[in-house]
């Protein structure tokens, strides 16, 4: 069986996931809506997952994919809890603008 990377090249995957990751970072910094921020985080996670899978193929090893499973589990948990927190914040503050969340102030 031929390694698919022979035709695509690992570097392309690296560039792709780098760009996706940067888009995620950009979203986090750019938007004030907490939901969108969350989505950006998901994009970042997916960028990393993609890289994992690419390298799994590169090394011909299953461990990369196993990690993706775990990261998915964590992401799912995170999203569930995070959104629940957002809901309760929204309930209390009436908005989910992250600039309004300043109670961490020292």
């Amino acid at each position: 069986m031929n390694n698919i990377l022979n035709e695509i090249g690992i570097e392309n995957y690296i560039f792709l996931s780098t760009i996706l990751f940067c888009i995620g970072v950009f979203g986090v910094l750019y938007r004030r809506n907490a939901i969108i921020v969350f989505m950006s985080i998901e994009i970042m996670l997916n960028a990393v997952n993609l890289l994992f899978v690419a390298f799994s193929t590169y090394h011909q090893d299953a461990q990369g994919q196993i990690f993706v499973f775990f990261s998915m589990a964590v992401a799912a948990a995170e999203v569930a809890v995070g959104l629940a927190i957002l809901v309760s914040i929204f309930r209390n503050l009436g908005s989910i603008d992250i600039n309004n969340l300043k109670n961490l102030k020292g």
Binding site: L29, R32, I98, N99, K102, N103, K105, G106
Partner: protein, 627 residues
């Protein structure tokens, strides 16, 4: 036997002290006085025994009790040395001490704290004995500081009067200045010779081949400063006149007869050190002569009877130092003894007068006491003649010897000291005339109470007057028992026997004439012309300067007390606050940094995220790109 007896000698007054401290109040005034007197008398008897021993066998008795202080290169033990010098001192300290104790029983009878008085007096005798019989400089130092303490306690005996307390404090601190000198001297001697023991020191110096003269002179000078403090020499003499604030018997005992001679004792003790330092000896002689003159001039115009006697004491001590400085230790010792007799007698006599006048000390308010207080008058007269150097009283012999020694060495010193003796004769008889002759100038009420003092007071006076008369016999110019007795102490061959030629007789004559002239002037002024010293406000001109003691107290006050207090205030108000604010300042800086730093933590998640991303970039750059 000797050890036990020496301990008895030492501890008898101490036991008297303890007894009076703990039980004095309950056993009654007279009993406590009697116990105090007996304690000192016991010591006197023990001293007499030792005197007999030492006359029979001139070898000194050395007793060592236990190790006291350990220094790297030597040990100081707590020991006694009973030799000619210490026994001589013991005899007159305990003898006069016993007499004055006896006198005090009557004198202090009205005081509610009489047991305390006797306790202090006993303690003083205890420390004086320690000072005298210690076998090394540090034991001497115990006594040295101890007598200073007792002096402090007794000057401030009437502690409700803050002026008296000031005087007491002044005496203690002035003494301590001297004590520092003594300590420094001890340090130098300790490091030079690795011993503080007199006997060892003497052999060490005698056996040494290359002595460090510079340091020996330094030691001698430091020791001399110590002696200055205790024996009230320039520049540390101002405490002694103030010390007259204490009860009169105390002035007699401590500030005339015994404690103030401690400096002379110490220098005589260490004569072998001082002999090596001729420069210091010269200083001692000059200081002594100048002190005697300055004090005598001040005494000329004082009106307080005790002040006159106090300055007279300073003056006489100056003469003794003059003798010490000229290397005539035995002459100084001789004068110490005769001076102890007549000065104690004078003080006790003035005490008797003050007692009769219920505390009046101003001579301008006395007069005419001759008729009422005959015994006091006669004893006072004898002592005055003695101090003025009129033959055949004891003072004549001792003072004459000093003048003779001075003449041999330096004519100027002789002139100064002769002048001082002339003045002495004048102010003593001024005192005598103003107090005992003419009419009584006090209030009528005082006059009605005038009386001769009781026997307990007059008895010591009589004894002392007899001693003041006969005291000269121990060292006649041609046949000196004292010189022979003291001979083992001195390294130098005992001062060559005076060849009694014309010069000597002429000097003697000059001295006597000087004394008589002084008396004559006083007679002319106060008997013939019937003068009475002016009131304080009316004193003017140079007399005023003398009356105010050359303003030395004021100068000292300005130079030292004021400046040090000013410095203290400056330190307290400025330096301390500056230091404090410096420390607080450090805290404030930290606080400020925290406060500014707080502003970064404004809680905005957006900004935190920026910081986070930039930080991550920085880390990545550092880790992967910086190499």
């Amino acid at each position: 036997m000797n050890t036990n007896l020496a301990l008895l000698l030492l501890l008898a007054p101490f036991l008297g002290f303890l007894f009076n401290v703990f039980f004095g109040k309950s056993i009654g005034k007279t009993t406590s006085g009697v116990i105090g007197t007996l304690a000192v008398f016991t010591s006197f008897l023990a001293s007499a025994y030792f005197f007999a021993v030492i006359v029979a066998n001139p070898e000194g008795i050395q007793i060592s009790l236990f190790d006291w202080i350990q220094i790297s290169n030597f040990k100081v033990d707590f020991g006694f040395l009973l030799d000619q010098l210490s026994i001589l001192w013991l005899l007159f300290v305990t003898g006069i001490g016993a007499l004055i104790h006896m006198y005090s029983i009557s004198y202090m009878h009205d005081d509610e704290n009489m047991h305390k008085y006797f306790a202090y007096l006993n303690l003083f005798i205890f420390f004086m004995i320690t000072l005298v019989i210690g076998s090394n400089l540090l034991v001497l130092f115990i006594g040295w500081e101890g007598v200073g303490l007792c002096s402090y306690l007794l000057i401030g005996f009437w502690h409700k009067n803050q002026e008296f307390n000031d005087a007491a404090k002044k005496a203690f601190i002035m003494n301590r200045i001297g004590d520092l000198g003594l300590l420094i001297g001890i340090f130098i001697i300790g490091s030079l010779f690795s011993t503080l023991d007199y006997a060892t020191l003497k052999t060490a110096i005698a056996g040494a081949t290359d002595l460090n003269m510079y340091w020996i002179s330094a030691a001698a000078f430091a020791l001399f400063i110590g002696a200055c403090g205790k024996s009230a020499q320039i520049p540390l003499y101002t405490w002694l006149p103030d010390a007259m604030a204490g009860p009169t018997p105390v002035s007699a005992l401590i500030h005339a007869a015994t404690m103030v001679t401690a400096g002379i004792f110490m220098i005589t003790r260490l004569n072998f050190v001082f002999d090596l330092a001729p420069d210091v000896q010269n200083i001692i002689a000059i200081v002594g002569a100048v002190t005697s003159l300055v004090a005598a001039t001040i005494a000329l115009v004082q009106t307080d009877i005790k002040k006159v006697l106090a300055y007279s004491t300073v003056s006489q001590l100056g003469l003794m130092f003059l003798a010490l400085g000229l290397g005539a230790y035995e002459v100084a010792v001789f004068h110490v003894i005769t001076h102890a007799f007549f000065k104690a007698c004078l003080f006790l006599g003035s005490g008797s007068v003050i007692h009769a006048l219920h505390g009046e000390q101003d001579m301008r308010k006395m007069g005419g006491l001759k008729k009422v207080m005959t015994i006091t008058f006669v004893t006072f007269l004898i002592s005055s003649l003695a101090i003025s150097g009129i033959p055949p009283f004891s003072g004549f012999f001792s003072k004459d010897e000093i003048l003779m020694v001075a003449f041999e060495h330096n004519k100027i010193l002789w002139f100064i000291s002769s002048l001082a003796s002339l003045m002495t004769a004048f102010y003593m008889f001024r005192l005598l005339y103003l107090t005992f002759f003419k009419e009584f100038r006090g209030t009528a009420e005082q006059k009605s109470h005038l009386h001769e003092s009781p026997a307990l007071i007059t008895f010591p006076l009589i004894v002392l007057a007899i001693l003041a008369t006969l005291g000269g016999l121990i060292s006649l110019p041609t046949n000196s028992w004292l010189n022979e007795y003291l001979a083992p102490l001195f390294t130098k061959v005992a001062t060559e026997e005076h060849h009694f030629g014309t010069t000597e007789y002429a000097l003697m004559l000059v001295a006597v004439i000087g004394g008589l002239v002084g008396i004559g002037i006083a007679y002319a002024k106060y008997i013939k012309q019937n003068q009475v010293p002016a009131e304080d406000a009316a004193i003017t001109g140079f007399t005023k300067v003398l009356y105010d003691k050359y303003y030395v107290d004021e100068i000292y006050d300005f130079l030292f007390v004021k400046s040090i207090n000013g410095l203290s205030k400056f330190f307290r108000d400025y330096v301390e606050t500056t230091l404090t604010s410096l420390v607080f300042g450090l805290g404030q800086v930290t606080n400020e940094i925290g406060f500014q730093g707080k502003k970064i933590q404004n809680g905005s998640i957006g900004r935190y995220l920026f910081a986070f991303v930039l930080g991550m970039c920085a880390i990545v750059i550092y880790l992967f790109l910086a190499q």
